[in-house]
Structure formats: structure tokens, C-alpha cells
């Protein structure tokens, strides 16, 4: 028994060193005085200072946040409405819609990226040609940029919203909606006061998933953003251009930020759980 415990622990130590050592080294070298990625030249915070003066990084971070919030909001609203509509469809129609919705999930990201890029190329030719003819002069109202980026992000977030809200909707008891109508609610009131509150946790988690996918995405943005860089695109051009410990500093900040968010959400979860358990015990005591 003891030997098995030791073996199990050794296995975990190995896998965790494999997963974390590269990140640890990356972060450690963000404090390196010298520019080298392997020789320690003394402690320094100068790469953090440089990072906070790096126009491209700051700007692209702003773009990433703005696109993520906009895309997640639109996708959540459209996707929730879609889930409601889909749940009322005939079995056959639902099957077709769900099959198409799976496409962005199962397709390799690069295919989603290039297919949207091709669509935007075709649209650019068509729209700009038509507008130019209409105005009688060269005009380019449509091009790659924030708009195309937003469309792409909404598109790959939508399925995740539908697959999050849809199952929750199926679990709802339709009798509760009918009861609300019987008790004098209009259909609109019944929806907003009875159905929607029960869906809120699923909708919220769909929103958060969309947010993280959008902020993290590189491949699809790479093909659809034109010259507007998101943070991952800025990171990519940094890794390509030159060796700079600013990337390490950025990694350290992102890692600590993510760690804080996850620990906080875990703490919230476990206090909620403890409270629920305490409430359950109290109920039992009463019964």
C-alpha cells in the first residue's frame, strides 16, 4: 500500500514538473538583467518597465478585451435565443441545425480561419465593387479589421453558448411556464420572470467561456484581423521578430492574473458549497 502511494506521488511529481518547469523558467527569466534566455545576469524589473511602455502590447490588449466583451455579449444573446428556438423545432430541423453548429467546434481552427477569410475576401470584392459603381468612384467601405474580427469571434463563440444553454433548457419543467401563464402572466412576463432566471447560471457560464475563448484565440484572428493585432497576434510577432524578455514578463503577468482568477472562483465555489451543505444539515435537523 505504502509502495503504491509512493509510486503514485512520483508519477504526479513527474507530470507536474513536465507541465510547470517550462513556465517556471519562462517566468524566472523575466527578472533577468541580461537579455539572454539562458544565462542569469542578475535581478532586474526593467523588462516589466519596458512592457508597460510597449505601445503595441498595450494597444493589442485593449483590442483583445474590447473584441472579447463585444463578441461574448452578442454571442450570448444570439445563442440563447437560438437555443430557445431550437428546442421548439421539429426533431429533423433540430438535427440539421445542430449538425451545422458542430462544424466550428470539430473543424480544425485553421479551416474556420481560412474559410472566413475567403468569405471576407469575396465580400470585399462584391461590396466594394457595388458601392464604387453606385457612387461612380473608387470606394472601399468593407475591409479586414475590427469588423471582420468581431464577426469571426462571434461565429466561433456561438456554438459554445448553444451547447451550454440548450441542455439546461431541456431540463426545465415546461409545467412551470404553463403555471405562470395560468397564474396570469403574459407570455413575455412568464419568459422574463420564470424561464430566464432559471437559465441565468448557464447563460453566465456561456458568456465566460466565450470571453476566455475569444481572448485566447490566435489562429482564427490571425486570418481575419487584417492589420489590427489582438494580444495573441502581438505575442506572435514578438516571438518572431527578436529575442526580448518582455515576452517573459508578459507571461508572468498573465500567469499570475489567471492564477488569481481561478483561485478566487474556486474559493467562491467552495464557500457556496459549504453554505449549501450547512443549509442541508439544518434542514435535516429540522426534519
Amino acid at each position: 500500500m505504502k509502495r503504491r502511494r509512493a509510486l503514485s506521488n512520483a508519477c504526479f511529481v513527474l507530470i507536474f514538473s513536465f507541465l510547470y518547469l517550462p513556465i517556471a523558467v519562462l517566468i524566472a527569466f523575466s527578472f533577468n538583467e541580461s537579455k539572454s534566455r539562458s544565462v542569469w545576469g542578475g535581478f532586474s524589473l526593467k523588462w516589466y518597465e519596458n512592457l508597460f511602455h510597449n505601445e503595441m502590447v498595450l494597444k493589442s490588449f485593449g483590442v483583445s478585451l474590447a473584441v472579447a466583451f463585444a463578441a461574448a455579449s452578442v454571442a450570448t444573446v444570439l445563442g440563447t435565443l437560438a437555443a430557445i428556438g431550437i428546442s421548439r423545432m421539429s426533431r429533423r430541423a433540430r438535427g440539421v441545425v445542430m449538425a451545422v453548429s458542430y462544424v466550428p467546434v470539430v473543424n480544425p481552427e485553421i479551416i474556420t480561419g481560412v474559410s472566413l477569410m475567403l468569405l471576407f475576401v469575396v465580400m470585399r470584392t462584391g461590396v466594394n465593387g457595388a458601392v464604387s459603381r453606385l457612387l461612380g468612384r473608387e470606394a472601399e467601405p468593407f475591409g479586414f479589421g475590427l469588423g471582420t474580427l468581431l464577426i469571426a469571434h462571434i461565429t466561433f463563440c456561438l456554438p459554445y453558448v448553444i451547447f451550454n444553454v440548450g441542455p439546461k433548457l431541456r431540463q426545465l419543467d415546461p409545467a412551470i411556464y404553463d403555471a405562470a401563464l395560468d397564474l396570469g402572466c403574459s407570455p413575455r412576463q412568464a419568459f422574463f420572470k420564470v424561464v430566464l432566471p432559471q437559465l441565468t447560471p448557464a447563460i453566465l457560464s456561456a458568456f465566460l467561456i466565450s470571453l476566455t475563448y475569444s481572448i485566447d484565440d490566435f489562429i482564427i484572428s490571425y486570418f481575419t484581423s487584417g492589420t489590427v493585432p489582438t494580444l495573441p497576434i502581438a505575442i506572435y510577432s514578438m516571438t518572431k521578430k527578436r529575442v526580448s524578455p518582455e515576452i517573459n514578463a508578459l507571461s508572468a503577468i498573465l500567469f499570475v492574473g489567471i492564477l488569481a482568477i481561478i483561485l478566487a472562483s474556486n474559493a467562491v465555489d467552495s464557500t457556496r458549497e459549504r453554505r449549501l451543505r450547512r443549509a442541508a444539515r439544518r434542514e435535516e435537523g429540522r426534519g
Binding site: 503514485s8 508519477c11 504526479f12 507530470i15 507541465l19 517550462p22 513556465i23 523558467v25 519562462l26 534566455r37 539562458s38 444570439l78 445563442g79 435565443l81 437560438a82 430557445i84 428556438g85 431550437i86 421548439r88 423545432m89 441545425v97 445542430m98 451545422v100 458542430y102 462544424v103 470539430v106 473543424n107 480544425p108 481552427e109 485553421i110 479551416i111 481560412v114 472566413l116 477569410m117 475567403l118 468569405l119 464577426i151 469571426a152 462571434i154 461565429t155 456561438l158 456554438p159 459554445y160 451547447f163 441542455p167 411556464y177 476566455t212 490566435f218 489562429i219 490571425y222 494580444l231 495573441p232 505575442i235 516571438t239 515576452i247 507571461s251 498573465l254 489567471i258 492564477l259 481561478i262
Partner: protein, 273 residues
């Protein structure tokens, strides 16, 4: 039948428009480009022209398959041990296993770039013992390592999810009935974890075979994969949408073929999401 039924179908209409315009239409355009030439005439030349890239396609399949196999071998014992821990520890360990995934994969790959360099940390460490410097970066091994490092959690998660449901008493029963460790593994554990194994294989193989960043950052110029070829046709120097589309169609076919072997039904796919 509630009155809600008929009317609320229309709630899906904005999405249906969106889906047609931005999921269905782009794929149709890819198909159109794949089977036409620059002047828009029907042709099969793009597809037949792919014969010239057979080595790249073969390399992609081999490297992705190797990465998937390594992930499976690493993830299987880890997931099993994880599923036998106390529930409180399980949650903690699972979180720790997933935490690196929250870092952008460009940064994770960059971390390995600086480790594997000719004068990187690993070679300097080996140098202390008089070994090397070894040629680590810009090899196909480095590309496989990058795939394994980036996608290992995709294998652990489905395996763990299915293994938690395996009752320890089933394993004990097999042992009581005289099965040795090997037979418990092949006759009990592997068959019971099969749905997790197939989901994990898909979740590692699909991103591995279609990557272009890992091969570019860790493989140098000499380890081109399908993803690199496609990227070159659309944003790189090659600039040939028709050929790029043909490559995309073939990549999709490979992925579909892989999934038809591994994904039994849509319920499993729903679990993947």
C-alpha cells in the same frame, strides 16, 4: 403543446441567418475555390496537384499520430491515479493539471523554444557534464514535444472523466478472481475507459495535425506540416487561394475520417464541448 411552442421557434432565426452566412457559406466558398482555377473555371488540378506535397501530408499524419500516442501513454496512468485520489484532492489536482492550459499556447510554445535552443538551458545543463550541445530545436522531435506539451491535458481530461466512474470494487473483483496487473489493465481498465480514450485521441490528433505555429516555432523551416502549407497559400508568399482551399478540403477529409473511427455518436461530441 403550450402556446410558447409555435411562436418561439422564431427566436432562432437571427442565429439561422448567422449560421448560413458565416458557417455554411464560408465552407461552400472553400469548396468552390478548391475545384476552380484562378479564372473561376471548374478544374481538378488543385486536388491532383497535391501529389507534390505527399511528404508534407505524410509527415503531418506521422507526427500527429506520434504525439497522440505519447499523450495517451502519459495520460493513462496519470488519469487513473487521479481518479483514485480522495475527492477533495482530485479537484485540487485536476485544477493544477488544467492551469497551464489557461496560458496562451504561443507563450507555452515559446517557453520550449528558449529551453531547447542551441545555447538554451537544457544544452547548458548538459554541458556541465561534458555532453552536447545537442541539436534539439528545429527537429521533428521538438515538434512532437510541443504537441504533447500543448495538448496533453486534452487527453487527461476525457480519460479522467470516464475513469472516475469506474468503481474500485470492479478492479478488486478482477484481482480476487486471479487477474494479474496486466490482465486487469487489458481486460478491465482499458475496455471500461474506451469512450474516454477515443475522445482523447480526437481531441489531441485534430489540433496536432492542423497546427502551423508549433511546427514553425519548434521545427524551423524544415518540418513543414499541412497547416504551414495552408497558411502559406493564404497569408504567406505562395498566395494561391485555390490550392490552399484544396489543401483545406483534404485536411477536413482526414479529420472527418479520424473522427468517424473514434467518435461513436453525437452524445460523445456533446461531452467534448
Amino acid at each position: 403543446m403550450t402556446p410558447m411552442k409555435k411562436k418561439t421557434v422564431w427566436a432562432a432565426s437571427p442565429y439561422l441567418v448567422w449560421m448560413t452566412a458565416f458557417i455554411a457559406a464560408p465552407l461552400a466558398i472553400v469548396l468552390y475555390f478548391a475545384f476552380t482555377d484562378k479564372a473561376g473555371r471548374f478544374t481538378l488540378a488543385n486536388i491532383t496537384g497535391l501529389g507534390a506535397y505527399t511528404t508534407v501530408f505524410a509527415r503531418s499524419i506521422v507526427l500527429a499520430a506520434a504525439a497522440t500516442a505519447i499523450c495517451l501513454v502519459l495520460a493513462f496512468p496519470v488519469s487513473y491515479l487521479l481518479s483514485r485520489l480522495r475527492p477533495a484532492n482530485q479537484r485540487m489536482m485536476q485544477m493544477l493539471l488544467m492551469l497551464p492550459m489557461w496560458m496562451n499556447f504561443l507563450l507555452r510554445t515559446y517557453a520550449w523554444m528558449s529551453l531547447l535552443e542551441m545555447n538554451g538551458i537544457i544544452n547548458r545543463f548538459l554541458g556541465l557534464f561534458g555532453v552536447g550541445p545537442l541539436h534539439l530545436i528545429n527537429t521533428s522531435g521538438a515538434v512532437v514535444l510541443g504537441m504533447v506539451y500543448n495538448y496533453l491535458p486534452y487527453m487527461i481530461l476525457p480519460l479522467y472523466t470516464i475513469m472516475v466512474k469506474i468503481d474500485s470494487s470492479v478492479i478488486e473483483a478482477a484481482q480476487d478472481l486471479g487477474a494479474n496487473a496486466f490482465r486487469v489493465l487489458t481486460r478491465v481498465l482499458i475496455p471500461l475507459s474506451m469512450p474516454g480514450i477515443t475522445t482523447g485521441i480526437t481531441m489531441v490528433f485534430v489540433p496536432s495535425i492542423s497546427t502551423f505555429i508549433i511546427s514553425r516555432m519548434l521545427g524551423g523551416g524544415s518540418n513543414l506540416l499541412i497547416g504551414d502549407l495552408i497558411e502559406l497559400q493564404f497569408l504567406g508568399n505562395s498566395y494561391n487561394y485555390n490550392l490552399g482551399s484544396a489543401m483545406s478540403v483534404v485536411l477536413m477529409a482526414i479529420v472527418l475520417l479520424c473522427m468517424s473511427f473514434t467518435t461513436a455518436d453525437t452524445e460523445e461530441m456533446e461531452a467534448m464541448v
